[in-house]
Amino acid sequence: MAHSRTARRRWTAAIGLTGVAALALSACAESGRTDDPGAGQVGGTLTFGAAGAPKLFDPFYATDGETFRVARQMYEGLVGFKPGTAEVEPALATKWDSSEDGKTWTFTLKENVKFHDDTDFNAEAVCFNFNRWYNQKGAGQSDAVSQYWLDNFGGFADTPDKPSLYKSCTAKDAKTAVVELNEATSQFPSVLGFTSFSISSPTALKQYDADNVVAAGDSFTYPAYANEHPTGTGPFKFSKFDKANNVVELVRNDNYHGTKAKLDKIVFRIIPDETARKQALEAGDIDGYDLPNAADWPGLKEKGFNVAVRPAFNVLYLGINQKNNPKLQDLRVRQALMYALNREQLVKSQLPEGASVATQFMPSTVDGYNKDLKAVGYDPEKAKSLLAEAGASDLTLKFFWPTEVTRPYMPSPKDIQAAIAGDLEKAGIKLEVSSKPWNGGYLTDVDQGIPDLFMLGWTGDNGTAHNWIGTFFGRTDNRFNTGASPWGTELAAELAKASSEPDETKRSEMYVELNKKIMEQYLPAIPVSHSPPALVLKSDVKGVVPSPLTDERFGQASKG
């Protein structure tokens, strides 16, 4: 992680603003609704409909939203995010300081905090956690297991070829932990607010063999800590996972160090079928669920439910793979594809309220966004003439799209695909459309460069420009095979240069410039849209604040 040191703060502030704006809007829409945590009754059970079962309860190994959602209620990190924003605020650490060179971080810890198992929370516990993360062995080092550590901190203690950002942790005294890094990074300390880097009870970690991940057969099995004994400091503690009934139950932590939770219990009820989730909400069986289908928003609002919309922190793009069809290496052909797409119409008919046409590969809240870029308008004639100019009037392309999936940036792949395919065909491009299940070959095919055109997107987990365009085009053997064109290498080099620029303002300018270049000179793919995801709740549920990072905590939630 040698890139994007200081952009985080700015991005943080920007997202924060959007969050507040969205909040204000949704607050207006729901007259009489209050987000004052002081209001609301004490007691009761909140039942939340989850689309899938949590994979485990140890946040460190978590990689998916369903798992994070549950873990987030039981755990806290050293830092947290102000509800509804991405602004860092104190959590288990009350304050922190960094040395001049940004490599030494001193955290002052909250006192009188106990884990759910009565273990004391102190500097030693913090260091125990850091060292646990850093010292993962065997299967614990797999990309599929410690994904967030690998993405944010790099390697482990015994992987010298893959250096880590993390160096050491010392407990200066009970309430002071000093974390040393190998390099300065603007990601600190906000990265510690990620649910993955929550602090677990050292006693429970040891007792329940927390690091014993085993690669078994074609998957991984996790130890008792992750399955039955998650132990954090959060406002709720683990009660049970009734697998036969598909219900996860958390109960209030009565010894919580902060404002105690109002709810007695949170129940996560697993309802994989989307329609079933909606009906369960309407029938009063559950109090809310995540990612309601955009088409259901109006109906849900009409019935008095609170559709809480998060800021659109994602992008959907039409991927172009230049490898197989040399004609796609011609900029004019790729531009023709962009002119052929009626993105305005697509956003209007297929995406939820608040969605917008993407002018570049990142939303406006990311540092380095180029606000001067305008979306190219729909112009099939221009597309045809560009194709003719490039001698590609008889262009035939393989267009793949995924089934068995919805993504926040892609609520209905089938309908979006149909719109895109229809537009392209109108511009005289012949398509061989085919689809594969998301997990059943689609991603593999895209990675292996089989289709010429494909639908994919990204939800940001980090506000640096590098998390977006760096991920997409930072290498030449990426999904777009930009290496097939001479500018691919150039672009990768430019991205690397920008991400290693230490000066924040300068770097930001470099990214603004790069975004323009990507859209006007390179066009490795076509950004389509940004689409806001939502969460729906019963109107009597209060104190749940939609977060751009989907970091919704139910600690201050109440019912009735």
């Binding site: 993405d151 991984f220 009906q279």
Partner: protein, 334 residues
């Protein structure tokens, strides 16, 4: 009898082995699978390759199969990648099987409770409007796609009857003993829990019952017609026995045989129907796991559940054959 049973069981082992090899090889030959499921859109070719290696998915198929069978012998059928990620496939089956049994049992009960009396009445009034109407109705029952019916039932009846729209039980405190929720409620005398679980069963069981109902109805009707024609009924009539007595003594009892058999043999239809019905009602049984497994390409779970479904189906068939042979000696000589 014993030899017959043993032969059938050996045959079953053969079927299971062949089936598991075929399924295994085919599933492994498919792209995606565990690696895609674990990495999602964050995958890069490198991560993919590393993980493939780590999980041993780069080895030849037969090596993988032997390893799989080795583990299977010790009860390890792999870990779910999509249905309940991280859970052992066998655990998923064991947790969910009671749910499906419970549901199928109620469905069969509904089918019998409606099918037999209606079939009997229709036969008695052969050719009348009641007969024609109920025959048409039973044919219609077969013509309606099960999942569509399930949705209609859910939409129309759940609010009208105040029944839950899905799940096995509300999140109430219930002690788990056997995994059969209704039975557990009765055993622990937690009547609320039992009633609640039963309420959750009603609608999916109704949807699932349509095809068995149609079959039971038609078989009952045909069987009763057959028996009414048979000599002993005519004899009984000539002996001057009254109609109710004939009905009770001869007709119904003789007609029961094929009906009972049919019920046993509806297992296959129930299993397939459960996949659709349980999905609609988010009912956490084997059927829903299969539906999710297909949707999320959860190969370990699919492999185990398909094999288990086959075993259940074959064993039920065997039991039916055996009971049939016991009841009707004529069969044994066939």
């Amino acid at each position: 009898m014993l030899r017959y049973t043993i032969r059938r069981l050996i045959q079953l082992v053969g079927v299971v082995l062949v089936l598991s090899l075929l399924l295994f090889a085919w599933l492994r030959a498919l792209p995606g699978g565990p690696v895609s499921a674990l990495l999602g859109e964050r995958s890069t070719p490198e991560k993919r390759e590393a993980l493939t290696k780590q999980l041993g998915l780069d080895q030849p198929i037969f090596v993988q199969y032997l390893k799989f069978m080795g583990r299977a012998l010790s009860g390890d059928f792999g870990v779910s990648t999509g249905v309940q990620p991280g859970d052992a496939a066998l655990d998923i089956f064991l947790q969910r099987f009671p749910a499906t049994l419970e549901l199928s049992f109620l469905a069969i009960l509904i089918a019998i409770a409606l099918g037999i009396p209606l079939g009997y009445l229709a036969a008695k009034r052969r050719g009348g409007w009641f007969d024609n109407l109920s025959v048409a109705g039973s044919l219609l029952g077969v013509a309606v796609p099960v999942f569509f019916l399930a949705y209609v039932l859910k939409d129309v009846l759940s609010s009208a009857l105040g029944l839950p729209t899905g799940g096995r039980q509300d999140a109430i405190d219930a002690t788990r003993v056997t995994g059969f929720f209704v039975l557990d409620g009765v055993l622990t005398q937690e009547w609320d829990a039992a009633l609640n679980a039963l309420e959750h069963l009603v609608l999916p069981a109704m949807a699932l019952a349509t095809i068995p109902f149609a079959v039971v109805f038609r078989i009952t009707r045909a069987a009763v017609l057959d028996v009414l024609d048979e000599d002993f009924v005519r004899t009984a009539e000539s002996k001057g026995l009254t109609a109710p007595t004939i009905r009770r003594r001869h007709v119904l009892r003789n007609a029961m045989l094929p009906v009972v058999t049919t019920i046993g043999l509806q297992t296959g239809a129930l299993l397939a129907g459960a996949v659709l019905t349980e999905k609609v009602f988010a009912f956490a049984g084997v059927g829903e796991a299969l539906a999710l497994g297909f949707e999320r390409r959860d190969y370990p779970v699919l492999l185990l559940l398909i094999i288990m479904a086959t075993i259940v189906y074959v064993v039920v068939n065997l039991l039916v054959d055996l009971s049939y042979a016991l009841i009707d000696p004529r069969i044994r000589t066939r």
